[in-house]
């Protein structure tokens, strides 16, 4: 397997203000002719390490598309995505997958937990895929922070939505990824629970120096972010720190 250039998080000398994500002229078109949809139409974006970035925009503006590009779940029609030193377009599908499980944590709106695994197994699932030993101490820290201690042996369908989302967060954090990508993580939750989840995300990002990119419709949540990127019609229309 070809070697992969991993962004070296711990490398001394590099400042925290480095751009961990660098997107240039990113375009994603669906269909063609009359039915052509420009989901992304020339996006340039840099995201700094350790920052909490929110992406906002109306429905259908291309937020999810952008996030999927960042996570290497989809390939762009044009342009490039660079995470750390790695140009994603250069990776084969297989390499992209391995890159993803080592470097990127996903949090989905509908959680996407594995129903046949317990909470604990779900959390360590990406680590097991990598055949690594889970850092038990670190993960228990996350678990305690998220208040999941008593639920570790439960199965996902025995949890509430908020609990499931917390498991998804724990799963995303467990691999110590370079970047966490969250697509409307609170979309299914009531405002109090979402507040809880968001503040947990903030706290964990600060505590573990995590870079987080999150899509949200909620202006209040966006207000918590270090930076808000506004997308309309596949273009960045506003970018406020």
């Amino acid at each position: 397997m070809a070697s992969i250039n991993l962004p070296e998080q711990q490398k001394k000398g590099e400042s925290d203000m480095d751009a961990i994500v660098k997107v240039t002229n990113l375009k994603k078109y669906y269909g063609n002719g009359e039915a052509l949809v420009k989901a992304l139409d020339g996006v340039d974006l840099e995201i700094e390490r350790g920052k909490f970035t929110a992406i906002v925009g109306t429905s259908g503006s291309g937020k999810s598309t952008l996030l999927n590009m960042l996570g290497g779940l989809d390939v762009p029609s044009e342009g490039s995505v660079r995470i750390g030193n790695q140009e994603l377009a250069r990776l084969t599908a297989e390499q992209a997958t391995i890159f993803r499980r080592k470097q990127i944590g996903f949090i989905f709106q509908n959680y996407n937990l594995v129903p046949v695994l317990t909470v604990w197994e779900n959390i360590i699932f990406p680590i097991s895929l990598d055949a690594r030993k889970p850092d038990r101490k670190f993960i228990m820290e996350i678990v305690n922070l998220l208040g999941l201690e008593s639920k570790l042996d439960s199965f996902p369908n025995q949890l509430s939505g908020g609990q499931q989302q917390r498991v998804a967060i724990a799963r995303a954090l467990a691999t110590k990824p370079s970047i966490i990508l969250a697509d409307e993580p609170t979309g299914n939750l009531d405002s109090r629970t979402s507040d809880g989840v968001i503040s947990l995300l903030r706290v964990t990002s600060e505590q573990f120096h995590q870079t987080i990119v999150m899509i949200t419709h909620n202006p209040e949540i966006a207000a918590h972010a270090d930076r808000v990127v506004h997308i309309e019609d596949g273009r960045i229309v506003a970018d406020a720190s």
Partner: protein, 848 residues
């Protein structure tokens, strides 16, 4: 309003489901087509076997009418025809009987042309037509052959015949206008002339006719025939009833057809299992589907309609396709199953709409049941539960919880969860597989266990059995005056180098009498019960001639004895190698000529002959019975007279027989040859017997018959078993395919979390192997045991046990299992390849 149910929406929903799951729908229709095909096929074959047997009984009887009354006057005939139970009647005005010696024992009646009667006895001219002019006549081919009349319209026919009213034998001249050939005319047929000709030939013929009666509901024909007569006040009229409606024979017909009908049960069960599995796609998805539509307010009635519509859509293409393919299959196999239909294709001869109707019904039933099941599954649960249904919720076994405590990741064991989730499906797949595999292994074991050696030993006593011309057909009565087999011919055959043994059989029917003591053992053996507790006499209820002969014997002691002179090979086959129930065979004393060997129906402890040591008078000479041997009917061809249906055979040396009956010919010749020169001998023999009417049954004929019986009995069931197995495999494959396809999203989640393709593959192959392993662990012992029990029982107790050497074999399973194991690995991988064509993001967006 509560009753306001929009049923149209059901159709739309159905149609969308159909289109969205196109592959699944095609699979479903294919499955139902298979069911429809197999049902059509096995019903059609069953019906054909039944009709074929019925037809052969009718041939034996000579008519399709239920009852034949003889010698009614026209007033009586008219009133019988008006009887409430009588559906239709056909009439025959007989002028006389043809009395040419060349006709032997065949009964050919000179009669007034009657289309109805002709149709009922298959005596309708196929070439030419019925007579129209006064000097025209229509006859059957067999009679034409016997009388050496060319088959040509206008050929001159000179007939010798005797009027029924007892007049002098006379000779008249006609011209041939039509002829036919029909197996129904072997024993009795007509020669047709016009009514005018009848008036000219017998100007003062009495009012005297035969009446064939067809009833609305034939049940106990004898009783019905008598009732009809009693109501006319004419119970002295002689009548006969059709053998095909005899109770015992009807039972035999049903018994023959039954296995074919039985196969349908297996077909339907496997079919339901398969369709069910496909329809359900998965417990999870369907429960969610029904949960969702229920929560949206679909009423039970709408759901019911939905299911009916679903089944109807599926059956619409499946049933006709099944009919067609089933019929083709039936057409191809029919000639092997039913023999001797005289050139006509048996598939068309006995074509009947019933199999198609039955098949349509069963296919519909299969589709409906299978569509209903998934809906029933969630019918009890509330929509909320149904929607959340993951197939896991109900019971997570305790051991899993404890396992989870250890907090190891069990990704390699995730495979197990996949199976547990589809437990029911796995059970169904295993059940249908087990059923079809048992059928296959069972019939296969039966096939290889049927022993040709044993069969030949029981059936064929010699390499060649030469039959007198009058006995070429098994329904033809032997004519001792036929002399077609001459002593010269026998000498010539014996002179062949290839011949290693030769022997002859001569027979003569003679009226005999037995006193009380002579009758006793015979009556005792027939009135007694056999091992199964059935009175032996009951076995013979299928042949009324036997019953009346036996009753006459029991009450008066009068019966027909068949004196039989045997020598050479026949002597050694019948006597030296015979099974003696009583007495011992002493060849020297037998040759001296004062003893006979009696032969009758026998069982281990009984033989139906007069007692050993008693005297019988044959041809005016006294003989002592030396021993009782069991009767070997296969050596003697043709039929005896109807009066001799109940008889006792007495064997004596040929020299003695010839002294008693010097005018009697040779009925059969048995020949054994050196098998190396089989070809030359057969050439010689066929040249010798050409144009003599002599028939030869060869060893190879017996072998062919054996192969055919084997084919009939086992190849078709094996074929059906194979198709069922195919259904089982499809079922299984389908379970595997859907097992992966419904987890499209799950796979996408895994991928998004960083599971590589290799890991995905390993997961699926692991699942597959585990599935296959569990299947094997269940199938091998289950199929072995079931096959063992079934065939073990069959080898000892079945009707064909006499030609069986049990060879237990599970070969079909050993062939099938590797196929299974390959499938469980290949199919999931193929599916994975398919679903990976869709991007991860697309799959993640799937709404469940």
């Amino acid at each position: 309003m509560l009753a306001n149910n929009n049923l149209k929406i059901c159709h739309r929903l159905m149609w969308r489901e159909f289109r969205f799951h196109k592959g699944c729908s095609i699979l479903l229709v294919t499955a139902l087509t298979l069911v429809s095909m197999l049902c059509t096929f096995s019903f059609a074959i069953g019906f054909m076997v039944r009709s074929g047997l019925k037809y052969s009984y009718q041939i034996q009887y000579g008519s399709t009418s239920h009852i034949l009354y003889y010698g009614l006057n026209s007033v009586q005939a008219a009133s019988v025809a008006r009887h409430a139970d009588v559906k239709e009647t056909v009439r025959l005005k007989v002028l006389g009987l043809l009395s040419d010696d060349m006709l032997g024992y065949r009964n050919v009646k000179l009669a007034v042309a009657d289309d109805g009667w002709a149709a009922a006895t298959e005596a309708v001219p196929v070439s030419g037509r019925m007579p129209e002019a006064d000097d025209e006549i229509a006859m059957d081919e067999l009679t034409l052959q016997s009388l050496a009349i060319p088959r040509k319209e206008g050929a001159k026919v000179q007939l010798r015949w005797t009027p029924v009213d007892g007049g002098e034998e006379r000779v008249d001249t006609f011209y041939l206008c039509g002829w036919w050939k029909s197996p129904m005319g072997y024993t009795e047929t007509c020669a047709w002339v016009t009514p005018n000709a009848a008036g000219r030939l017998c100007p003062d013929a009495p009012d005297y006719l035969d009446l064939g009666v067809t009833l609305y509901r034939p049940r106990n024909l004898d009783r019905q025939a008598q009732e009809i007569l009693r109501e006319q006040g004419a119970d002295k009229v002689p009548y006969t009833t059709n053998l095909a409606y005899n109770r015992a024979r009807r039972q035999r017909m049903n018994e023959k057809a039954f296995p074919f009908y039985l196969m349908n049960i297996a077909v339907v069960v496997c079919g339901i299992l398969m369709v069910y599995n496909i329809v359900r796609i998965s417990t999870v998805q369907n429960a969610r589907f029904y949960g969702r539509v229920k929560s949206l307010g679909m009423s039970p009635r709408q759901i019911g309609r939905f299911i009916v519509v679903q089944a109807a859509y599926l059956c619409l293409p499946a049933i006709p396709a099944g009919w067609l393919s089933g019929f083709v299959l039936y057409m191809v196999t029919a000639p092997y199953v039913l023999l001797g239909t005289g050139g006509e294709h048996p598939a068309f001869l006995f074509l009947n709409p019933a199999p198609f109707a039955c098949s349509a019904l069963l296919t519909w039933f299969t589709a409906f049941t299978a569509c209903l099941l998934p809906a029933r599954l969630v019918s009890g649960s509330r929509p909320a539960e149904a929607m959340k249904y993951t197939g896991l919720s109900a019971a997570i076994p305790a051991e899993d919880r404890s396992g989870a405590k250890k907090r190891r990741c069990r990704v390699p064991f995730m495979a197990l969860y996949g199976i547990r989730r589809d437990k029911k499906k796995a059970v169904f797949a295993a059940a249908s597989m087990c059923l079809s595999m048992t059928l296959l292994c069972g019939f296969w074991t039966q096939y290889i266990s049927t022993d040709e050696e044993k069969y030949m030993r029981e059936i064929a006593y010699c390499d060649y059995l030469i039959a007198d011309a009058s006995t070429a057909n098994s329904l033809q009565r032997y004519n001792p005056a036929s002399h077609s087999v001459t002593p010269e011919l026998i000498e010539e055959i014996a002179g062949q180098k290839a011949v290693t043994a030769i022997g002859t059989v001569r027979t003569m029917e003679i009226p005999m009498y037995a006193d009380e003591a002579g009758r006793a053992p015979i009556v005792e053996s027939f009135e007694g019960e056999n091992e199964e507790g059935v009175v032996r006499k009951a076995y013979m209820s299928g042949s009324p001639d036997w019953v009346s002969g036996y009753e006459k014997f029991r009450t008066t002691g009068e019966y027909i004895g068949i004196a039989s002179g045997i020598d050479g090979l026949a002597e050694s086959v019948i006597l030296s190698e015979g099974e003696y129930v009583e007495g011992v065979y002493d060849a020297e004393r037998f040759a001296a000529g004062n003893y006979v060997i009696a032969a009758g129906a026998s069982e281990t402890s009984f033989v139906s002959t007069p007692p050993i040591g008693s005297s019988v008078e044959i041809g005016g000479r006294q003989f002592k019975i030396m021993a009782a041997v069991s009767y070997k009917g296969h050596i003697i061809t043709g039929a005896d007279s109807r009066e001799a249906a109940f008889n006792v055979s007495y064997y004596m040396p040929v020299q003695v027989f010839e002294e008693l009956f010097p005018e009697c010919g040779i009925r059969n010749v048995l020949v054994n040859i050196d098998h190396n020169s089989q070809k030359e001998f057969e050439e010689f023999l066929s040249k010798k017997i050409r144009d003599t009417g002599i028939a030869v049954k060869m060893r190879s004929d017996y072998q062919w018959e054996f192969g055919n019986a084997l084919f009939h009995n086992y190849v078709i069931p094996i074929f059906v078993g194979a198709v069922l197995f195919l259904i089982g495999i499809l079922n299984f494959a389908n379970a595997l395919v859907t097992g992966v396809l419904i987890r499209k999203k799950e796979m996408a989640v895994y991928e998004s979390l960083g599971m590589t393709q290799l890991q995905l593959r390993r997961l699926l192959v692991g699942e597959g192997l585990m599935y296959g392993g569990m299947m094997t662990a269940f199938l091998v012992p289950a199929v072995s045991l079931m096959t063992w029990l079934w065939t073990g029982w069959w080898a000892v107790y079945s009707a064909s046990a006499w030609c069986v050497t049990w060879k237990y074999s599970l070969l079909p399973m050993w062939i099938a299992l590797p196929v299974l194991l390959v499938l469980v690995m290949v199919i999931p991988l193929g599916c994975l390849h398919m679903i990976r064509k869709e991007s991860v993001t697309q799959r993640l967006q799937i709404v469940e």
